[in-house]
């Protein structure tokens, strides 16, 4: 009995290590969890993309469930998720998709929207990453789910595809809508 334990203990330790490393294989080190979950969205005032004389602030996020989508015309993954955002803007009438045009040039960004459609109720223009820093943005695309009180509930890193929407974002949005 004591002997078999002696044999099995290293094996068990080894298997535990294998399990840990195997788990590590499946996680993506590029996805850094945001410390802003559960906190109010940062306050900001930015010009509207394409209408520099108009400005938009974080107050636009109150009263509705919002997806704040960080995008740029130079960002290939943003183009990949664009079709899904267009579909959401057509089919999901009770959420607003708010754009944060990040570290981009207005002419390029506007050209992209002309060519592929504009899923956003409005896009805030942040070429200098003034507001992006406060949201803890470190790449595009990123999407924040924000509830009616302006609280950040979730951060999706990387493009939104049908699967991410159906499995993660939609259930969350529905849960938030059911709350209030």
């Amino acid at each position: 009995m004591a002997k078999s334990v002696k044999f099995l203990a290293p094996l068990a330790l080894f298997l535990a290590l294998v399990a840990l490393l195997f788990y590590g294989l499946g996680t993506d080190p590029r996805k850094v969890p945001s410390p802003l979950i559960g906190k109010p969205a940062p306050e900001f005032v930015l010009p509207v993309l394409g209408e520099p004389q108009r400005s938009v602030s974080n107050e636009a996020l109150f009263g509705q469930v919002s997806l704040v989508n960080v995008w740029a015309s130079w960002c290939v993954s943003c183009r990949a998720e664009h079709a899904e955002l267009m579909r959401l803007s057509r089919e999901e009438k009770d959420i607003q998709i708010f754009g944060l045009n990040w570290k981009d040039e207005a002419p390029d960004a506007l050209r992209m929207l002309r060519q592929t459609g504009d899923p956003y109720v409005v896009s805030a223009y942040d070429p200098e990453n003034q507001v992006g820093i406060h949201f803890g943005v470190y790449g595009a695309p990123e999407t924040f789910v924000i509830d009616r009180q302006g609280i950040i509930r979730y951060k999706h890193i990387g493009p939104i595809d049908r699967r991410a929407w159906e499995e993660t974002l939609r259930p969350l949005v529905q849960q938030i809508k059911a709350e209030s």
Partner: protein, 169 residues
């Protein structure tokens, strides 16, 4: 005409020219040298989230530049090192720090290796000590007598025998 120094001169020229293409930190100037040193130290300890294994000081990513600028602005405004770190951690999480802070969720990270090393050392020491004891106890008085006889007989036959592990003990 042979010019043996030419390859060396070309290489030296290339090496000297290489940093020209890279960015410099010269644009960040401080009146106070202590403040400048603090800035350099700080951006060395903060991680660029895009390249992940590079510090803000080393990274050429656009985001790293934005964060360097932000750190510079904050220090210029007279804010302290702690305020800069709090600002960045509140937005990007502990991950911006190369050295994770000491708190309950990072105890395994800080003390786990010590613990594992300690347990390993304990078992290693136990095995080594036990081996020593047991091998000494293995020789009975008769065996010792035989060993002595064998060792005494050895010089006679001229071929030195290889001592086995038991005999050495």
């Amino acid at each position: 005409m042979r010019r043996p120094w030419l390859p060396a001169a070309v290489l030296a020229g290339l090496v000297a020219a290489a940093p020209v293409g890279a960015f410099t930190l010269e644009e960040y100037t401080f009146d106070d040298p202590a403040r400048a040193a603090e800035f350099r130290k700080l951006i060395d300890e903060l991680r660029c989230l895009v390249c992940q294994n590079e510090s803000l000081a080393a990274s050429q990513a656009g985001l790293a530049k934005d964060l360097r600028d932000e750190v510079y602005r904050m220090l210029q405004k007279g804010q302290s090192r702690e305020e800069v770190i709090t600002f960045l951690v509140a937005r990007y999480g502990d991950f911006v720090l190369f050295a994770p802070p000491l708190k309950p969720s990072t105890y395994p990270l800080w003390f786990g290796p010590l613990l594992i090393g300690g347990v390993g050392a304990f078992f290693l020491a136990r095995v080594l000590l036990r081996k020593k004891e047991s091998s000494e106890a293995e020789l009975s008085p008769e065996e010792r007598e035989r060993l002595r006889a064998l060792l005494a007989a050895e010089p006679g036959d001229g071929t030195p025998s290889q001592p086995g592990p038991k005999e050495r003990a």
